[in-house]
Amino acid sequence: MAAPFKPFTDTPIGYVDNDGSPVAKMKPTLSDDQLKRLYGLMVLCRAIDDRGYIMVRQGRAGFLAQTAGQEASQIGSAFFLEKRDWIFPSHRELGAALTKGMTPGQLLAHVLGKDLDPAKGRNMPSHYGDGELHIVSPSSTVGNKTPAAVGVAMAAHIKKSGEVSMCYIGDGATSEGDTLAAFNLAGVFKSPVIFAVQNNQYAISIDAKHQTASRTFAEKAAAFGFDGYLVDGNDVVACAEITKFAIDRARAGEGPTLIEFLTYRYGPHSSADDDSRYRKKEELELWRNTRDPITRMKKYLTRQGLWDDAAEAKLQDEVKAAVEKGLAEAEASPLPAPETVFDHVYATLLPHQIEEKIEIFGHA
């Protein structure tokens, strides 16, 4: 495959610059319709994220790790995945989960820990998962999903199923040994896996400079024998294009790719964090006011003649309706029954569990 991109560059690959102008040399392969869908997904994602935040403030959710600011890198990277493909989200992948197909109702039910959450509220909020959609319910343990993402890809390779495995990791997660061991494994087996490094420049309070001494996260791939690409993670076009390239390579048997999406989170690390302790307001304002992925894409679409006020108004209505509907579904959904606390530890209850269950609930 002729490579339209150069690995290991110092400047992020971009299609659309900060004020929405196309970058001269980069012509999108995306259709107009795809461009608009990307934008629509970002707007919907932000609205769901905001809604989750309200739930936290209302005390109805115990935790939230907001996505705001990272819509482009999450949605762009998930956009070309097929249903059979796998996603290993981290603890902040609302955008990826939405793009892969989870409904606003499911996503908000997850935040509330309700029955409509495909994972039945077992995990803390922001840990989206769905078996049907091959979105693997994540652990909170940073980095340790990476070997399994490679394992899924190894199985795909062995079964010749054509599935691609997409593994989301943060900048912080690249310091965990399991992540790096998994990179090495993927390199040796040329597995169809993509490591989508969401470099939002912080791991809680630790900035990227204190996380690693390498210049970029992308270049880490070289240590394991495959290519890494640095991409403007707030440019949804670039995010989608580079990922499409990596997906095609993976399906063609050309092995793993690491993509570093350079982006920024607007919120604190999570609802439990106080980010004023470690980052300057000015830095946040700079990103939010001049590099926002949604604003940028809207300008781009407008400039390309693909968008106008009427289209925007229609989208906002649709998004509002979708969130309201999702919220209603989530709220209507019950909590899982208390007895289910024993379910799914094993395929069936073991004898000692039956005994415990009788002890606590009076029946098996």
Binding site: M124, A203, L335, Q353
Partner: protein, 330 residues
């Protein structure tokens, strides 16, 4: 004339912080390392202010790797420092478990004492804070079963400070688990200045004659609640706070059980394989002739900790009362 020591009403977070701060002032080899322990002050603020006071060479923000934190702490301890490694949530120690299991715990033994590891590994543990599967676990047994490690769990701020100072001064690695559910919920008087609570000594928190409840950490308070309820029903229950798991205070346990004839062990971990078993088996080996009923264990159910229906997972006073009655009415 004796100097008055000021005493303050402290949370466990404050007690833990002050123990580190005072020891760092007294001994320049004491240092801290972990994730977000620097300017951020730790996600629970246990190291708040320490970076400002002691600087980045003694309060070290590390990259996100527990193996790196634990292994680096090990190397620092071998090379003359006394590191206190913070694990952000004890659930996240496990990517570095081998450092604890194979390296930290076994360094002294495999080198026949040539290298020692005076190091503390501390972190919040336990449920009851809506933390879900990975911010709620009680894996103390997985440390207690590793020869070479000491394991300490305080149930209140006073003990937390005194035990942590003991741990920092100990010549061996000490795993120091802080029940996050009572990080701020339980307060007690804490004196200024260094004092130690010895590792390996239990405390009789409430005297009684009818049965012995043995517990530690956050569960101690649930056991006390159960003891209150039993009191209302005319049962006089003794409650022991173990405080140290390795070594544990076998004498205190036997003394009480011999008096009461009934033992109930309460832990927060899932029951199968839990540390409750060690206590139960110890009693069954040493004092069976004093027992007038079964040794009961109250523990979490054998599952992971669900986010939304956690309360059905954890032990509660009801279950302790029931278990105590079961052995009393035997």
């Amino acid at each position: 004339m004796a100097t008055e020591t000021a005493t303050r009403t402290f949370t466990m977070v404050q007690a833990v912080r002050e123990a580190m701060q005072e020891e760092m002032r007294l001994d320049s080899s004491v240092c801290i390392l972990g994730e977000d322990v620097g300017p951020r002050g730790g996600v629970f603020l246990c190291t708040e202010g320490l970076y400002a006071e002691f600087g980045g060479d003694r309060v070290i923000d590390t990259p996100l790797s527990e193996a790196a934190i634990l292994g680096a702490g090990l190397g620092m301890a071998m090379n003359g420092l006394r590191p206190v490694a913070e694990i952000q949530f004890i659930d996240f120690l496990f990517p570095g478990y081998d450092q604890l299991y194979s390296e930290i715990a076994k360094m002294r033994y495999r080198s026949a004492g040539m290298f020692k590891v005076p190091m503390v590994i501390r972190g919040p543990y336990g449920g009851g804070v809506r933390g879900g599967v990975y911010h709620s676990q009680s894996p103390e047994e997985l440390f207690a079963h590793v020869p070479g490690l000491k394991v300490v769990i305080p149930s209140n701020p006073y003990d937390a400070k005194g035990l942590l100072i003991s741990a920092i001064r100990d010549e061996d690695p000490v795993v120091f688990l802080e029940p996050k559910r009572i990080y701020r919920a339980v307060k007690s008087e804490v004196p200024e200045g260094a004092y130690t609570v010895p590792i390996g000594k239990a405390k009789v928190v409430r005297e009684g004659t009818d049965a012995t409840l043995i517990s530690y950490g956050a569960m101690l308070h649930v056991a006390l609640e159960a003891a209150d309820r039993l009191k209302n029903e005319g049962k006089n229950v003794e409650v022991i706070d173990l405080r140290s798991l390795v070594p544990y205070d076998g004498e205190a346990i036997l003394e009480s059980v011999k008096k009461t004839g009934h033992a109930v062990v309460v832990v927060e971990a899932p029951k199968l394989g839990s540390f409750a078993n060690e206590i139960s088996a110890f009693i069954a080996e040493k004092a069976i002739e004093y027992l007038e009923g079964p040794i009961m264990r109250v523990a979490s159910i054998d599952a992971s900790v669900p986010y939304n229906i956690e309360k059905y997972y954890l032990p509660n006073a009801d279950r302790i009362v029931q278990a105590t009655k079961k052995t009393l009415e035997f």
